[in-house]
């Protein structure tokens, strides 16, 4: 091992390509889809699906086991690093669009993390098919947000048909509409629903189930109206006696006296938190670059190298913002590098999310402030990025929840020792 910061070539190439996508396919229509909530940018979706397929991916934004070409020098895996770089750049274009980039999303990630090899093969193949296809993850309920152990959704095994019968109400499902509802333009997706198979068992009874698009008894009941990321659909989904085949359960079908079910969910988070952090950092970088551009247009140059007390207040702010964005990105890189190298990264993963939540909100807020009436105006995208940014500190574990995870890690505490 060594300490090195040279971006791997595939990462750099990917960034170059996606920057073009961001500049041409996202930025020009960002405003339009922000103002017309719940309308769908099909041209972006179809373009991305085709582009990703032709680039040999076609699995959407999921980490790939990259197979080095024959005869090529063996190099360490970079699947998650590549993914984080992709996400950062797409979010730099438009984080709402990034969230509707076709693929498995959080639903696919859950299958990847908690499913058996057979389940992975069965459920994940569809993302490489002809049409753009989605999957979503349903954990949150009206009465259970941060406290995931409070979910009420139940799954009961009907032994006569060997099916799970699921009942419950899920909310705030990112991509729930595109994953579950039938669209002519889309392939058949699925949602991953977290439910309890034994309400007396608490976390040990929690399991995830793959619920195919169109399953009877399941309905998207609402699409939320949001502060930002409006291109991304956020759905409420109700499940009434929804039946799914026995082998759609991710993890063991029996309740042991352990919390492996819940650990499955947590394993998903270790993988996805740095990626959500990456998406926030893309927004922050966009805001910072826009700010510097506008300042430069107005003759304000940042004098790096000067002692702080000789800098103007604006220069100090910009320098601080740069420190924040750069260091936050490095934390993401370290967390995904650990994931790629199969090192346990619960601490680094949550730290990167804490930092990104802070940095993304602070940087966008400050940029709007510094640019005054320009910052506040809807003539520019900056005010939109301010709205888009805030979600980074909320989903995939709020800033507070991730602080809890970090604190437990450094203190060596369990969940019951530090609540």
């Amino acid at each position: 091992m060594t300490i090195e910061f040279e971006a791997p070539k595939p990462v750099v190439q990917m960034q170059t390509v996606l920057q073009t996508v961001a500049e041409n396919m996202m930025r020009p229509v960002s405003r339009e889809f922000d103002e017309n909530e719940h309308s769908i940018p099909w041209s972006y979706i179809e373009f991305m699906h085709t582009a990703m397929k032709s680039m040999g991916g076609g699995n959407g934004l999921t980490p790939r086991e990259d197979k080095p070409k024959e005869g090529a020098e063996k190099r360490p895996p970079i699947g998650y690093q590549l993914l984080a770089a992709q996400i950062e750049m797409l979010a730099w274009g438009d984080v709402g669009f990034y969230l509707i980039t076709p693929g498995g999303g959080l639903g696919g990630a859950a299958v990847q993390a908690a499913g058996t090899p057979e389940q992975r093969a069965k459920f994940l193949a569809r993302f490489a098919e002809e049409k753009p296809t989605y999957a979503a993850m349903c954990m949150t309920e009206a009465g259970a947000g941060s406290d995931t152990s409070a979910i009420r959704t139940k799954a009961v095994l009907d032994e006569s048909t060997n099916e799970w019968v699921i009942n419950g109400e899920k909310i705030f499902v990112t991509g729930g509409d595109k994953s579950f509802n039938a669209y002519e333009q889309l392939g058949k997706g699925f949602i991953v629903v977290w439910a309890s198979i034994d309400p007396t068992a608490g976390r040990a009874g929690m399991r995830a189930f793959v619920v195919e698009s169109g399953t009877p008894g399941v309905k998207v009941t609402k699409l939320e109206h949001k502060m930002g990321i409006r291109a991304s659909d956020t759905a409420a989904i109700s499940l009434v006696d929804a039946r799914v085949p026995f082998d759609h359960i991710l993890g063991s079908p029996t309740v042991e006296k352990t919390t492996t079910g819940f650990k499955g969910a947590m394993a998903t988070f270790d993988a996805t938190r740095p990626l959500v952090a990456a998406s926030g950092i893309g927004v922050a970088r966009a805001a910072l670059e826009f700010l510097k551009e506008k300042l430069a247009e107005n003759g304000v140059q940042i004098r790096y190298g000067l002692p702080r007390n000789k800098l103007t207040s604006v220069e100090r702010d910009v320098i601080d913002m740069e420190i924040m964005v750069k260091s936050a990105w490095l934390m993401v890189l370290k967390a995904v590098w650990m994931a790629d190298n199969k090192k346990p990264n619960a601490l680094e993963s949550s730290m990167s999310k804490v930092r990104a939540g802070d940095v993304t909100t602070k940087v966008t807020q400050k940029a709007v402030e510094i640019l005054g009436p320009l910052g506040y105006s809807r003539e520019f995208l900056l005010e939109k990025w301010f709205r888009d940014a805030k979600i980074t500190d909320i989903y995939e574990g709020t800033g507070q929840i991730n602080r809890l995870v970090v604190a437990r890690q450094i203190l060596g505490y369990s969940g019951s020792e530090l609540r």
Binding site: T2, I3, F5, Y304, V354
Partner: protein, 365 residues
């Protein structure tokens, strides 16, 4: 590739420095700060680890190549033990490393074997000046060429071990550029203050004012020789060292506060079980990790000669100054009233923590 783990050689060095920091520097830190004195033996033991020796090529009396990344790792570890002790051990680097980086062949041959070869001896450097708007790139101390000699005028502050120093590398303003000049101990016009600096922190480290009143040095004593040198990489290396030292002090504070919070009982639980305390610790850890990665990246850019290395080093040092203040402040806060009592080290960490905003130039990687 991205990669975030020290190599084997670096890890061995970090372990060696870490042992010295924990077993020697830390236990001596309180007494040293109170008595304003660092035991000679303590410094000697740190010197024997051979940080400077290992980054000086064989041709000049050492046994290795300099790496800013390795330096950053070592400085953090050393400062984790005690900042004053760390700076003392590494003071000869302030003189030798710029020569290594920017000196002429003649200067390298003349000085490096002598500095590196034997026991720790006070070779030092003078950069900082006593002015609120001190700027390493706009020094008040001047150098002028006069009849084949450079004449130095001005006053330097915070010069470690200036009293009794064998030689001082003095930075001065030559036509708007910061340039180093090697000033021998007996140079006419050179006066070292009788009294030491009295500071908010770092009391164990002997720091002095140095007056230069028409001090004359031959052209060959200009760092890099007649053609001079680029100051930017030297300043960048100082900034990386400052950031690394800040990380060490901050980590010391976090570690102490964490251990304390797991022992201290209040309202029927350990205080670490209260979110208000646990979140402080989580934020301290996050902040440290963020700045560490930024510092490593700057160091790596110095080693690989990236064009933006100096800017990165500036960002790392600037971020580190804030980080150190924030973390060490909270270190005291976690201990409450006990943190304010000098028996616990966190108040010293906090006083030392404030210094990174103004004390670039006391260490170099």
């Amino acid at each position: 590739m991205y990669s975030f783990e020290p190599n084997e050689e670096q890890q061995m060095l970090v372990d060696a420095v870490g042992k010295y920091a924990a077993n020697d520097l830390r236990p001596a830190a309180h007494e040293a700060e109170e008595s304003r004195e660092l035991p000679k033996k303590l410094i000697g033991k740190g010197w024997e680890i051979g940080l400077l020796q290992a980054s000086t090529p064989e041709a000049y009396g050492g046994f290795g190549e300099r790496s800013a990344v390795t330096g950053a790792l070592a400085v953090e570890e050393m400062a984790f033990g005690d900042l004053a002790g760390a700076y003392a051990v590494m003071t000869p680097s302030l003189f030798a490393t710029p020569i290594l980086l920017a000196g002429s062949e003649e200067q390298k041959k003349q000085y490096l074997p002598e500095v590196v070869g034997g026991d720790w001896r006070p070779y030092t450097a003078a950069l900082i000046e006593f002015a609120f708007d001190f700027d390493a790139n706009a020094l008040r101390t001047s150098a002028t060429l006069d009849g084949g000699e450079y004449v130095l005028n001005g006053e330097k502050a915070y010069v470690p071990f200036a009293k009794g120093a064998e030689a001082i590398l003095v930075y001065a303003n030559l036509d708007g550029q910061t340039q180093g000049f090697i000033v021998p101990k007996d140079a006419a016009g050179l006066t070292v203050s009788e009294e030491r600096e009295k500071l908010l922190g770092l009391n164990a480290l002997p720091l002095y004012r140095v007056k230069l009143d028409g001090v004359k040095v031959p052209v060959s004593n200009r760092l890099g020789g007649e053609a001079g040198h680029d100051f930017e990489p030297i300043l960048a290396s100082m900034r990386v060292a400052s950031a690394s030292a800040a990380l060490g002090v901050a980590r010391a504070s976090l570690e102490y506060a964490t251990n304390y919070a797991k022992e201290r009982q209040a309202f029927g639980v350990k205080i670490a079980q209260k979110q208000a305390v646990a979140f402080m610790l989580a934020e301290m850890a996050t902040e440290i990790e963020a700045i560490r990665l930024l510092t490593w990246e700057a160091a790596w850019k110095l080693d690989t000669g990236k064009a933006d290395a100096a800017t990165e080093a500036y960002l790392a040092a600037t971020g580190a100054a804030d980080m150190a203040m924030m973390v060490t402040d909270r270190g005291v806060q976690v201990l409450g009233g006990h943190g304010y009592i000098r028996e616990h080290p966190v108040e010293m960490f906090m006083r030392n923590g404030r210094g990174f905003a103004m004390l670039t130039g006391l260490a170099i990687v």
